[in-house]
């Protein structure tokens, strides 16, 4: 079940996390003994039952949380705090209510180098970029509204834009399409696929939608129910570039079924 040579881009080595001292003392871990290795540019998906530790995994991978035991190396360096080259869309949209949608999307450019240094100078250019991005997720006309004037699904899309705007080397998406209808969702799958194909950044995608995972990812990890462990690693060897049609092909459907039965077994056990 452990995998990967030590030269991976993301390396989890026997990582355990308890959320606080107290829980640690009681040996209540949110994730247990996670070991995995992701190569540079790999697109992985994580699936697992609700509450199993997927979001926790994301916090570990960005350095927002440090492991209680074990170690995490990303890009060869040990993670000791938040990384500077990631983009993350949280499970809740977490948009800042005092900023308009476009200003929310611009936020990373105000923080992250090299944009930060020339943000004032290039503001117009960056804003145009943010607006284009918002348009590409169907939010044209809502750029200057406040987040609380958007619907739930719109907020989620704005949050995805915020994760993407600064072209991060590592993109983390925590159930980014959960609040979207099937059609919008599939459009965004393709948007994401295209971006990734162009730029070959690393992606970690948490999702409950197995079709989504199989359609987008190179590798799917299945986590056990809480406390989360990695139960299974499934490489998706479907050819790329993939198209929505592939989701109706037999190999695709088979993989989805395989994963589903696995998870069903996990839940039973």
């Amino acid at each position: 079940m452990t995998a990967g040579a030590p030269q991976g881009f993301v390396e989890f080595d026997r990582v355990w996390l308890a959320y606080n001292e107290e829980l640690l003392a009681k040996n209540q871990f949110a994730v247990e003994d996670i070991t995995l290795s992701v190569r540079e540019g790999e697109f992985i998906a994580i699936v697992g039952p609700s509450g199993c530790g997927k979001s926790t995994f994301m916090k570990l991978a960005t350095g927002l949380k440090l492991p209680s035991m074990g170690s995490i190396r990303i890009g060869g360096e040990r993670v000791t705090g938040p990384l500077k080259f990631t983009g993350m869309a949280f499970q809740a949209p977490s948009l800042l209510p005092w900023r308009t949608t476009v200003d929310n999307v611009l936020l990373p450019l105000e923080i992250v180098e090299p944009y930060r240094s020339n943000f004032r100078a290039k503001r117009a250019e960056y804003e145009a970029r943010a607006r284009a991005l918002l348009q590409s997720v169907g939010l044209a006309g809502y750029e200057d509204k406040y987040p609380w004037q958007l619907s739930g699904g719109m907020q989620q899309r704005a949050s995805i834009c915020r994760a993407l705007i600064h072209e991060p080397r590592m993109l983390l998406l925590d159930e980014p399409f959960g609040a979207l209808d099937a059609f919008t969702r599939e459009e965004l799958w393709n948007t994401l696929r295209d971006l990734w194909t162009q730029q070959q950044f690393n992606v970690i995608l948490v999702t409950h939608d197995l079709r989504e995972a199989v359609y987008l990812a190179d590798t799917v990890y299945v986590m056990s129910k809480s406390p989360g462990r990695i139960l299974m690693r499934r490489e998706i060897d479907l050819p790329r570039p993939r198209d929505l049609d592939i989701t109706y092909t037999e190999p695709f459907v088979n993989i989805v079924h395989e994963l589903r039965s696995h998870i069903g077994a996990v839940r039973g056990g």
Binding site: L83, F85, W98, V112
Partner: protein, 256 residues
């Protein structure tokens, strides 16, 4: 809706008028003597008679207060930042600042006068000393109670503490910051006036004691009214800035 807006515009004036009328009626009905509580008419009378003097003293008090208050904003915000973003600083400084703040600043005016001489120095310092605390407390509370979810949005970008404060901490506590300014400006006026009451030849505080000792209670109250008017002007200024910067926070049913 428009009607509601107009109502709100006039509400403070209506209330003010009501208060003044009740006050006048009580004074007239019970024949309250001037030395006990002067009536609005009497105050108005004195206001007109001494308007030149009152204006001169008011202006002095106003600018002195503004200097002290400006200092208080700068220092209050910085201290609030420090206390709100470090548990250790919070634990170390908060109790002592509370203790210091409970001391009547009037007791320090003589010391300030001895150090700085009679003049603007003691008044500015008193206004500052008395008014920075509410600002500090509100900034500190706002920062210390920042939702980690919002904080993480920035932290995940590798943002520095300062970025988190400026981009999330401050904006989120802005409504309470304005609230604290409204408290602080009133205290700043009190500080200036108290200092002027202790040692000065100018300012509304001086006017108060000299009118009081000459038993011109109407004039003393006219001076108080002048301070109240200045505070209201500052309030309107804050309210105006607040409206333009924190509309997002006032979007509840209350705002509808």
């Amino acid at each position: 809706m428009k009607h509601q807006k107009r109502l709100e515009r006039w509400a403070p004036w209506v209330l003010l008028l009501a208060v003044v009328i009740v006050w006048q009626v009580v004074c007239s009905a019970f024949e309250v003597s001037e030395f006990i509580f002067p009536s609005p008419l009497r105050i108005w009378d004195q206001f007109l008679e001494f308007r030149g003097e009152i204006l001169r003293h008011s202006w002095r008090t106003f600018w002195v207060t503004m200097v002290g208050f400006g200092l208080a904003i700068v220092v209050g915000v910085l201290l609030g930042f420090v206390i709100g973003s470090s548990r250790l600083a919070y634990a170390a400084m908060y109790p002592l600042m509370t203790a210091f703040n409970a001391l009547p600043k009037a007791a320090f005016v003589p010391i300030l006068v001895v150090w700085f001489g009679i003049g603007v120095g003691p008044a500015v310092l008193t206004a500052f000393l008395i008014s920075f605390f509410p600002i500090t407390v509100n900034i500190a509370t706002g920062l210390a109670t920042l939702e980690p979810e919002l904080e993480d949005v920035l932290r995940v970008l590798g943002a520095k503490r300062w970025d988190v404060l400026v981009k999330v901490g401050l904006p989120r506590s802005l409504p309470h910051f304005y609230g604290s300014l409204k408290v602080a400006i009133t205290l700043a006026f009190v500080g200036t006036t108290v200092s002027e009451m202790n040692a000065a030849n100018e300012g509304i505080g001086y006017l108060l004691v000299s009118a009081g000792s000459a038993m011109q209670m109407g004039l003393a109250f006219a001076g108080l009214v002048a301070v109240g008017i200045m505070a209201m002007v500052m309030y309107e200024l804050f309210a105006w800035i607040e409206k333009r910067t924190t509309a997002w926070a006032h979007r509840g049913s209350h705002a509808a």
